[in-house]
């Protein structure tokens, strides 16, 4: 018995040492509905909430969740929010709900969630819990009949870079890091208890057409596309701003280097002259000279995030346009009949 216990402990400690990578997020239908309800009721205000569940090997189970009240910047309210969170956790524990925080969920507008705030929140969570996940729900996409749930985490290499705090071109080249490597999307599984499954089978309406079908066939996707384009244009503007920042930096850098060269040339000739005059040569470096001060390289994080957003919008436009094709051909076929 003792040996068994020890081997069990060993097994656990071994597991701790090499935590298997997170492969799947398994969400209970209850949590899905709760998230959707919260996000939808408050749309277009962006809301967040906490995910509760269990961490089982490479699967992260999300079994419940609770919403956060809409946040204010007021400090008093913030303290109140922390109290609320503790109170809620305590209450849920009393009715035997898993009270392990495994991450948070948030709503988004047209999938524009790639922000510095999200990364900061994620790093905060990551410090306390080893494995956490962020679930994104997009109410605007849900109107098109899509279950727009996404589970995200930051990639390990990104977290390492972020902790180091430098996003210079050199570092990124070294790591071979590109904007696609910031976020990792984790596949979502939905699970339901047998009881829920029985009830849903029982309650499923007999009509052959569901609300989801109706939403999907709805042909007015123009507002969605328009908004998407608008966001895309805004992002492109931001991106070009970022680009200008870099150009400015590079221009400054090259100017500085030219100045340095000139100075060095001057110093060398001066030294030659001194040498021929039999004097000690002056040092070839002068840290006090302002032209030797390194210009800080702007962080590339922002532009990476914008790039991510842009690519996201492109993806969405592609997807919706693709759907529209099928819709149009369907209308055509129907009309011809």
């Amino acid at each position: 018995m003792a040996t068994m216990a020890r081997s069990f402990l060993q097994a656990i400690s071994k597991d701790e040492a090499v935590a298997p990578p997170l492969r799947v997020v398994q969400i209970e239908g209850l949590a899905v509905l709760k998230m959707i309800k919260h996000c939808k009721e408050f749309a277009p205000t962006l809301v967040t909430g906490q995910l509760l569940g269990l961490d089982v090997g490479s699967v992260l189970e999300v079994t419940n969740c609770f919403p956060f009240p809409v946040r204010d910047d007021d400090e008093e309210i913030e303290a109140d929010g922390a109290n609320y969170q503790l109170e809620m956790m305590r209450c849920l524990r009393e009715v035997n709900v898993d009270n392990n925080t495994v991450g948070w969920y948030q709503s988004t507008v047209l999938g524009s969630y790639q922000t510095v705030e999200l990364i900061e929140t994620f790093m905060n969570y990551q410090e306390n819990i080893k494995r956490c996940v962020c679930i994104i729900y997009d109410p605007s996409k849900a109107d098109l009949g899509v279950l727009a749930l996404k589970a995200l985490k930051l990639s390990d290499s990104f977290m390492e870079l972020y902790r180091g705090g430098n996003f210079t071109g050199e570092k990124l080249r070294e790591k071979n890091f590109s904007w696609m490597d910031i976020f990792e999307e984790i596949p979502i599984k939905v699970s339901n208890s047998a009881l829920v499954s029985a009830f849903m089978t029982e309650l499923e309406t007999d009509t052959p057409v569901s609300q989801g079908d109706y939403d999907r066939l709805h042909s007015s996707t123009t507002p969605f596309l328009e908004n998407n384009m608008e966001f895309l244009i805004k992002c492109m503007d931001d991106l070009s701003m970022e680009q200008q920042k870099f150009q400015y930096y590079y221009r400054n850098l090259s100017r500085q280097q030219a100045q340095q060269q000139a100075w060095l040339q001057k110093r060398k000739t001066e030294n030659m002259a001194r040498k021929s005059a039999g004097e000690e040569p002056l040092p070839e470096e002068d840290p006090s000279n302002p032209i030797f001060k390194a210009i800080p390289e702007p962080s590339r994080l922002e532009s990476f995030l914008i790039t991510n957003q842009v690519s996201n919008f492109c993806g969405q436009i592609n997807g919706v346009a693709g759907q529209n094709f099928s819709r149009l051909y369907l209308t055509k076929a129907l009309h011809e009949n």
Binding site: V32, E87, R173, V190, P208, Q211, R300, F313, K332
Partner: protein
Amino acid sequence: MAAASEHTVLQFVAPSSTATATATTSVLTARIHPLVIFNVCDCFVRRPDSAERVIGTLLGSILPDGTVDIRNSYAVPHNEFSDQVAVDIDYHHNMLASHLKVNPKEIIVGWYSTGAGVNGGSALIHEFYAREVTNPIHLTVDTGFTNGEGTIKAFVSSNLSLGDRQLAAQFQEIPVDLRMVDAERVGFNVLKATSVDKLPNDLEGMELTMERLLTLINDVYKYVDSVVEGQTAPDNNIGRFIADAVASLPKLPPQVFDDLVNDSLQDQLLLLYLSSITRTQLSLAEKLNTAAQML
């Protein structure tokens, strides 16, 4: 009310005893969102070993037409011994305060319990909730599937009194309207199965929907054909429905329709082109940015 207490008669008194309120209670329906059922089931699965049933508070709002919209719920720990019931009132109030912080519009509308029907303890708990809110609703969800199906029933209670003396409470069943629209949006195939490996993506959903539409159209064809051939007795109502459906398609000359479709197609293509070119630009810019080595 004053007149009633003078004569000693056996009477039912609705919880809110004004005549108008009684009138509205008679048409009261409960509209239940699927989340509530999910929540009840989850609580039941997670109940303590000793508990026979779980109870909890229902949150929602009362719509102007008297329908009670039940949108949320939370479990409340309780104990039941033969004829005594202890509800954790502190817990109930804490949880209520927390929920109100998130959504002040959702107020208590009643309570739920698992099990097939109403029993002695229910009357006591109902009395407690009647103090929290006038005319609470009692929802029972039969998680045991006692008669082979998961029955969901809603009740309101009215008091049976003899003069001033309360004799008993009578639970009256009211109609239940299950709002499955939310669930439909998520998709029953996701919520029904005990485990779904992959969420359907846009195109798969579209395909499914189209298939369904196709079968529907085929069904209509079959029906019309069989009526025309005289195999099925014609039903005027169905005929009118079909006529309406066909008429709902706008009548456009082929030329105009073609233009319409082609224009939209071109719009979409333009969008596709734009987004692809942006993507290409992005990857190009990235290469240049990170590869740009100074000196």
